[in-house]
Symmetry: C2
Amino acid sequence: MTTLTGESLIGSQTLLGEGNEFTATAPARSETLIGTFRNLNLAQASQAVEKAAAAFQPYSQLHPHKRADFLAAIADQIEAIGDPLLERASAESGLPMARLTGERGRTCGQLRLFANLVREGSWVDARINPALPDRQPLPRPDIRRMLVPLGPVVIFGASNFPLAFSVAGGDTASALAAGCSVVVKAHPAHPGTSELVGRAIQAAATQTGMPEGTCSLVHSDNEVAQAIVAHPAIKAVGFTGSRAGGLALLRVAQARPEPIPVYAEMSSVNPTVILAGAMQERGTAIAEGLAASVTMGVGQFCTNPGIVFVLQTGKLPDFLGTLGAKIRDSVPATMLTPGIRDNYSRGIGTLTHLPDVTLLAQSETNARSIQTEGRPAILTTTGNAFQHNPALSHEVFGPSSLVVVCANETELAACLQTMEGQLTATIFATDSDLTNSSHNWVALLQEKAGRLLFGGYPTGVEVCEAMTHGGPFPATSDSRTTSVGTAAIERFVRPISYQSFPDALLPLALQQANPLGILRTVNGVKV
Amino acid sequence: MTTLTGESLIGSQTLLGEGNEFTATAPARSETLIGTFRNLNLAQASQAVEKAAAAFQPYSQLHPHKRADFLAAIADQIEAIGDPLLERASAESGLPMARLTGERGRTCGQLRLFANLVREGSWVDARINPALPDRQPLPRPDIRRMLVPLGPVVIFGASNFPLAFSVAGGDTASALAAGCSVVVKAHPAHPGTSELVGRAIQAAATQTGMPEGTCSLVHSDNEVAQAIVAHPAIKAVGFTGSRAGGLALLRVAQARPEPIPVYAEMSSVNPTVILAGAMQERGTAIAEGLAASVTMGVGQFCTNPGIVFVLQTGKLPDFLGTLGAKIRDSVPATMLTPGIRDNYSRGIGTLTHLPDVTLLAQSETNARSIQTEGRPAILTTTGNAFQHNPALSHEVFGPSSLVVVCANETELAACLQTMEGQLTATIFATDSDLTNSSHNWVALLQEKAGRLLFGGYPTGVEVCEAMTHGGPFPATSDSRTTSVGTAAIERFVRPISYQSFPDALLPLALQQANPLGILRTVNGVKV
C-alpha cells in the first residue's frame, strides 16, 4: 500500500501541516488506522488558495480538450491505485468493498462524463447575434455570449461518499470541468482515502501539464476551512453534509464583502406518499421495497426515505406488519463514524420519546458499539401529530423511517404543506387514486422537491443529463442547481458577452468559423 | 388622460392604501403632478402576496401558449394607452418624449420577445434519459428533467427606466414568462406611470383569462417592501437601483428562515481602457464618442462610462482637449428626481475636493435648480491616486466621468486589478497594443465584467439572446445571471426531474410524443 504522509497537497507540492495532528479510525473495529495527518494553519491553507488564484487564468484559458484530458487522467490515476484505495476507503468508512468498487466506478464514470462534456464543448451555451449594420433606427453591434468559469472554488469532501462526493467527486469534477481551479478540503473521517485520491490528481495534473496550483488538497480544522471560504480569491463553495455545517458556510459566504454562491446539499427526509389504491393493490410489496431502501448502505444516503405518509385504510396493518417484519429481520451495520452513529441513536431515542410516536419495529439484533453499528428502526406517528410538531420532520441520518398515518387525504395534504424543501418526493398511486382525488398530488410535491419519483424508491441517484440532485431550501442552499449529472457544471460559471470583438480576440467557442465545432445559438436558432 | 386613482392593483381588484399619502413631482418644473397615491400598510400588501401565492400553481401550470398570449396582450394594452402614457412618464421622469417612445418600443418588444420564447417552448431545457431496463449491473429508470418556475416573486421598479425596467419591464416580463406570479413594487418617482401600466396588465390578465392574482402592483414604503421580501411565499426578488437599496434587500432575503435569490443590479462605473496605439490613431474621435456616451440620457444609465483609463502619451493632451471641449459645449438637463440630482452634484463636489483630482471641464451652462438639472463634468486623476483611494472608483450616477491618467501599462493593470465587479468593461486598442503588451488585457477585464466591448461605448444594451447585462458583485448580487435578453428568464426557474412517471402525469414538455414540438436533449443529443 502506498505510504500515507499525512501532508496536504498544494498543487504539485506537499506541505506538512503545523496545526493539530489527527488520525483516522476504522469504525468497524474502533481502531486507529496507520497514518498521522496534520492540519494546515491559516497561513499554510492560504498558500493553496493563492496557488489556485494564480492557476485560475491559465487553467480557465486552456483549450477545452486539455481540461478533458486532465479529467480523464484523474480517472485513470484513481483506477491505477487499485485495491489499496478501496481497502483504505473501506477501513476508514466502514463501507463494504463491493459498495466502494461501485462507488469508484461511479467516481471515474463522473470524471469521464465531464471530460466528454468538455471535449464535446457545447455546454458553454454559446449565443451569437451578428451585427446588423443597416438596422433602423440604430444598427445592432455584434454580440456573442458564452459561459465562463467563476474563479477558484473550494470543495468540501462529504463523509458518506468517500470517493464519489469527496476529493475527486462530483463537485470537484464539475468545477474543474467548468474551468475553475479547486481547493479541496479533505473530510477528516477519511484522510487516507483523501490523500490517495489527491495524489492521483497530482499525478494527472503533472501528466497532462496543468498549470501549477490548479487543484490542491488541504487538511484543516473548521475554523481554517471557514477562513478559506472567506478568502477574497475564492468565488464559490461546494459542500455536502449536515444542515448545521452547510448553514455555517453559507453565513461566512454571505458575510464576505463580496458574497459568493454556496452550493450546500444539506438535509432531506425524502417524503414518500402511498395513496389508498396503491396500498390496496401492492402495500406489502411497497413495504418490502421501502425496508430495503431504508436500510441500504445503513441508511446513509441523502435520499433515504425518512418519512412515509400512509392513509388509515384496511390494508394498513398488512403494510405495517410487513415493514416491521423486514426491519426486525434486518441487521445492524457499521456506520461511517462514531459521531454519525451517536447522532443516529440519539435521534431515534428522541423521536421514540415524543408524544404520539411509537417504535413500530427495530432490528432484533442489537447494535455492537465497538463496531459502530446503527440499528434499523421504523417508527409511526399520526398526521395530526406530524402537522403540529416540527421535530417530527427533522432528518435522522441513518437506517430509519417514520411512518405518518393520516386520517384522510386532507390531513395528508396538510402534512405535506408543512414540509420544508426536499431532494426527492415519491408517490405511489393508482390511476383512480389520482383522478378521484380532490388534491393535485403531483403539483403539491413538485413545489417541495427537486426530483419526483412515481412508484419507486429514492435511493440511487443516476448520473446523467436529466438528473436533478437538488431541491428547495433546506435540501440545498440553492434550488436552481443540481450536484449530480452534467448540469452540475452550471454551478461554477457565469455568462459573459463580447461586443464588437475582433474574431481573433474571441474565445474559440465564439469565433466565426466555430473551430470547436460546437452547437451554438445564432439569432435564436441552434446551429 | 386616464384618471389616476392612486390605488394599488391587487390582481383584478383595486385597493386604496391606508399608509402614507404621496404625490409625484415633475422634475423639469419642480411641480406636483395630479394624482394622489396611497401606500399600502403591511396587512394590505400581504394581500397581494397571498393572491400571488394562490395564483402560482394554476398560473405555472397553464399551457405555455396561454402565458405567451398574456405577455403579448400586456404589450398591446400598453400601446393602447397611447400618448397619455408617454406624457405622464415624461412628466414624472423628466425624460424626453422621443426617449420614452423608444423605451415603450423596447418594453413592448421585450414582452413580445418573451412571449415568443415561451410560445416556442424550448427554453425549459428538457432533458430525457429513457429507461434502460436491461442495463447491467442495474437497470436505469426513465428520468426526465425540465425547468420550472420558482414561485411568487417580487419585482422592484427602477427609476431610470420608467417603462422598460419598471412595472411591465424586463424583470416582470421574464418572471411572468418563467411561470412565476409577480408582485411589483412601484417606484415612488413615477407612480402614475406605474398605475397606467399596472392597469394595462390588469386588462391583459382579464382579456386572456389569467388566474386571479397572477400579477399585482403595490405602492408601499421601504419597510413594507422589505416585509414583502421577507414573506414566506415569496421565492425570488428582482431589483435595479442603488447599491444601498440592493444590499438592504439582499440582507432581508438572506436573513429569512428560507433564504431566497435576489437579483439586484446595483452599481457599476464601467471602466473604459484606451491603450497607446488607439489613442495615437483616433484619440480625438474616441473623446467625441465618450462625451456623447457620458452625457446621453443625462448619464442616467447603469452602463454609463464612469471611469476612463488612459496612458501618459503624447496624444493625451489632444484627447483631453477634445473631451473637455465637448463637455463644456454640452448642456445640463433634467435628471429623474431631485434626490438623484442632489446625489450627483454632491458626488462631483466630493470628487473635486479629493487630493490629486482635477475638474477638467464642466458644461459652460449652469444647471437650473428648479429644472432639476445635472451639469455634465469630466474630472481627471492619476493612476497612483486611483489605486490608493477607493472613493475614486465609486459610482457617481449622472453625466460625468473620471479620466485616470496612468504612468504606464503596469500602473494601468494595477488600477484595473483593484476594481470591483462591473456590468461592462471596454477596451480601445490596436493590434500592436495587444501583441506588444506584457499584459493580457482581455483576460484581465473578463474577470471584472459581464460584458466586454471592443472599441465601443457601453451605453445602449441590446435586447437579444446573446446579451449579458450583469456582472460580478457589486455590479449585481448574482453574477450568474443577466437582467436583459432572453436568458433573463433563467433567474426565475429551477430544475426538477421526474423519475419513472406515467406519460400522462408528465408536463407536456416531457411527454414522450413531444406535444409542444420543442427541442429536447435525449441521451445527451439535441432532438
